[in-house]
């Protein structure tokens, strides 16, 4: 791979790549297959292998490009295959479909109906990205390239305009001008806090001391969010380019990319991207002939949620335990190895090349008054079209869930959405018309966080969900400061009693008390926001707490301690599945008397209420029933 020595050479390479690609494409189709973790989990590897074998068998391997790309976001329908130049979208592709796709679509240009998207309302079939509702209502400026680029090939990124923003910044903008551009774009940090990015950059530039460091935070710990994984896996060069521009702007020659241990493919693709950029001379000395030097190191996390906090992450980079430090002095002044350090989240960095290329004015025309640009959300939970969606700031939750997400499965009612992860809260159904931006979500007692939108239906218990988050944080609190360590423990105890049906009248007040103390006195944001899930559910779902405390009833039928299971003799076919699977050996067969059929019976004194019988009972039978707030009916007289 030859070195690119100047902005001019970069342009020449880009043109060369494009004309070679276009020349090839005008004759032949090419095939893109999502090779992100999501599609791989659904069997994309087998589909890719099948395509390779099929193209070899037909002696087409040299003519038709098969591209393993990043994640376009529609994970629900994976594995995803797109046949270009037409851009035909095939969903849920199986290795068995491959031969037909090559024969019909690639060679003859015909559509295969059964693999197209079917609109659940009209029954119509959609062929292209711009027709499929999931994509149609999005504004895709960050993840649009994922399906076109092989993330392991830097030239693919360059062909799509990559490193043009870096060339522009280095050749025609001063560092101050870059910072001004970022400031006037109105970009705010996508990692959770929403701090104005330009101001952070300016502080790091003005801070005294050297060397300075720039850092990518890809420790995406928020359970339910995966946009950073998709960007780092699918388009790592866009993040790297942003980081390099940041380095130039604040006067840093050394960058770090911190990727969490749970994302092995992101680690691999980031590592490849760094190596290829180095080979191309885009990292190293005198980049593009500008005199700017820059190097990047990759650091793997080792599994600790709190390490995503900026000061903790810097500790981890130093090889220490990833615990937070007090922020009397901002990390922009004294961060990594006590030097000025600029840390931004993956999605924030990926926005930078876009801002430099298209200008702050264009960028700030998207979004709301206080929140500019687009945001990638992970739309997951009880929603039909799960996946990553990129929309302008200010779109309402209802539009996201129903227009893009296609509504709730099984015709159930939406109960609310959880945003902001363990630091966020639950927003009830009545507020779904709220435009989503940093400020509106905070006003509702939740927060933007990294952008997870977890849709909850009537089968989700608000109290149990609050308990889940407190449990999660209890395990993840580093234990360094007392309010967080002890506060979470007490909250866990209280919520544990409530879901077990032993709640007391004063529990809610106690929870609110502990929460206010933790908010005021914790060392880092983990502790300061840890009570939000409990507080927001107490605020919006007080009735549900009271049902647990006063009636020992879980309206959503979730809390094990408050549910009794029983088997309806009229429906039971005595197949014995429940008996076989019951870990407590609480189920036995009751012989039918007088010609009646046999049926299964649960011994309530042995039942641990694990619910496995309920889940294993065949869906055609559904003889296992449950009740809450009162005891199960006597099965055998």
């Amino acid at each position: 791979m030859p070195r690119i020595a100047s902005a001019r050479e970069l342009e020449l390479l880009r043109e060369g790549q494009r004309s070679r690609r276009d020349a090839k494409r005008s004759r032949e189709a090419w095939i893109a297959i999502c090779a992100g973790t999501g599609c791989l989990a659904l069997g994309a590897k087998k589909v890719i292998d099948a395509f390779r074998a099929e193209l070899r068998r037909r002696d087409l391997a040299a003519e038709i490009v098969l591209k393993e790309t990043g994640c376009p976001g529609f994970c629900e329908k994976g594995p995803i295959v797109v046949v270009y130049p037409e851009g035909v979208h095939y969903l849920k592709v199986d290795p068995k479909d491959v031969s037909q796709i090559v024969e019909e679509t690639v060679l003859k240009g015909r559509l295969i109906d059964r693999l197209l998207y079917v609109d659940p309302v009209t029954g119509e079939k959609d062929v292209h990205e711009e027709e499929i509702p999931f994509y149609k209502h999005q504004t895709r400026i960050l993840i649009n390239n994922n399906i076109k680029i092989n993330p392991k090939n830097i030239d693919d990124y360059i062909a799509e305009g990559g490193y043009g923003a870096l060339a522009r910044a280095l050749s025609s903008m001063t560092p101050q001008e870059v910072i001004e551009e970022v400031k006037s774009s109105g970009l705010r940090g996508r990692g959770g806090g929403g701090f104005p990015t330009g101001l952070k950059w300016e502080a790091a530039r003005e801070a005294e001391g050297s060397p300075k460091y720039v850092i990518v935070n890809c420790d995406e710990g928020d359970p339910g969010a995966f946009m950073d994984r998709a960007l780092m896996e699918g388009n790592p060069h866009s993040v790297l380019e942003g980081l390099m521009i940041g380095g130039y702007a604040i006067g840093s020659e050394e960058g770090f990319i911190y990727v969490r241990a749970e994302y092995p493919l992101a680690v691999e693709n980031a590592r490849t991207a760094i190596a290829q950029a180095r080979e191309r001379g885009l990292l190293g000395e005198d980049i593009l002939g500008s005199g700017f030097n820059f190097e990047v190191r990759l650091h793997r996390g080792a599994g600790a949620f709190v390490s995503g906090e900026s000061t903790a992450l810097m500790n981890a980079l130093e090889g220490k335990v990833g615990e937070p430090k007090p922020k009397y002095v901002h990390t922009s002044e004294r961060g990594l190895w006590s030097r000025p350090s600029l840390l931004n989240n993956v999605e924030t960095w990926a926005n930078i090349p876009v801002i430099i290329n298209r200008g702050a004015l264009w960028f700030s025309s998207i979004g709301t008054e206080g929140s500019k640009g687009t945001k990638i959300f992970s739309l997951v939970g009880k929603v039909n079209n799960t996946g990553l969606v990129e929309v302008p700031m200010g779109m309402t939750l209802r539009e996201i869930i129903f227009d893009i997400g296609g509504g709730i499965p099984g015709g159930k009612r939406v109960k609310g959405v959880q945003t902001g992860g363990p630091s966020g809260g639950i927003i009830p159904e009545g507020h779904l018309d709220t435009p989503v931006d940093f400020d509106e979500l905070t006003r509702l007692g939740s927060m933007m966080g990294s952008g997870s939108i977890i849709v909850l239906d009537e089968d989700t218990c608000a109290v149990d969900l609050a308990r889940y988050f407190v449990d999660f944080l209890c395990d993840e609190s580093c234990g360094k400061c007392v309010p967080c360590r002890e506060g979470l423990l007490q909250m866990r105890n209280i919520l544990g009693e409530i879901v077990a049906g032993r709640g007391k009248g004063e529990d809610l007040d106690a929870l609110v008390d502990i929460a206010s103390l933790m908010k005021a006195a914790s060392l880092c944001a983990l502790g300061r926001t840890a009570a939000n899930p409990a507080l927001s559910t107490i605020r919006h779902f007080r009735d549900e707490y009271l049902a647990h405390i006063e009636d020992q009833r879980c309206p959503a039928m979730v809390c094990e301690g408050l549910i009794s299971y029983f088997i309806r003799p009229d429906l039971c076919i005595a197949c014995g599945l429940c008996e076989k699977n019951c870990p407590a050996e609480a189920i036995s067969e009751e012989e039918g008397v007088g010609g009646e059929k046999s049926f299964m019976v649960i011994d309530q004194s042995r039942c641990t209420r694990c619910g496995i019988c309920f889940h294993v009972c065949p869906s055609k039978v559904m003889a296992v029933a449950r009740t809450s707030g009162r005891s199960a009916p006597q099965q055998v007289p």
């Binding site: 995966f226 092995p264 650091h299 599994g303 992970s378 909850l456």
Partner: protein
């Protein structure tokens, strides 16, 4: 540790010679090779690198990805992220544990399986998710979890 291990261990230590903040990366690499970090390896590391044993142990015990006890031949992770949670991950975990007759975070007595909870694997679209020896399974039902275990037996 036998002599063969030590050659490999020395080779990995060499990778980080002269670098600042190497300890976590070093432990991850060593674990990639050995699957866990035995106690005498910590002693050896300390001798070779001059980092106090207490410091190495503190790092190794803080981070979840580092195993300080041997793990089974097959590693099972059940994702407990929020998206998986609301789609029934707890049931998948309980069921898998009951099938293996161990608790989460334990290893079966025959050293065949280790069962772990993991906070989020970033496959939130297809929850509940579990990984078996690094291979992802999406939309896991109780039957699918049982089948994944049977396939390994």
């Amino acid at each position: 540790m036998d002599a063969v291990d030590l050659v490999k261990v020395d080779e990995i230590i060499e990778r980080y010679r002269g670098q600042e903040g190497f300890l976590i990366q070093l432990l991850l690499d060593l674990q990639g090779e050995l699957n866990w970090i035995p106690r005498d390896l910590i002693d050896y590391l300390s001798e070779r690198s001059g980092v106090p044993r207490s410091q190495i142990y503190r790092i190794a015990s803080f981070y979840k990805a580092i195993n300080l006890s041997p793990v089974g031949r097959h590693m099972i992770h059940v994702c407990m992220g929020t998206a998986c949670q609301v789609r029934g991950a707890q049931k998948v975990l309980d069921y898998t544990a009951s099938k293996l007759s161990i608790k989460p975070e334990e290893t079966t007595p025959d050293q065949a399986f280790t069962l772990r909870k993991v906070n989020c694997l970033g496959c939130c679209s297809m929850g509940p998710v579990m990984t078996v020896d690094g291979e992802y399974h999406g939309g896991v039902t109780l039957e699918a979890a049982e089948k994944a275990l049977k396939d390994l037996r």
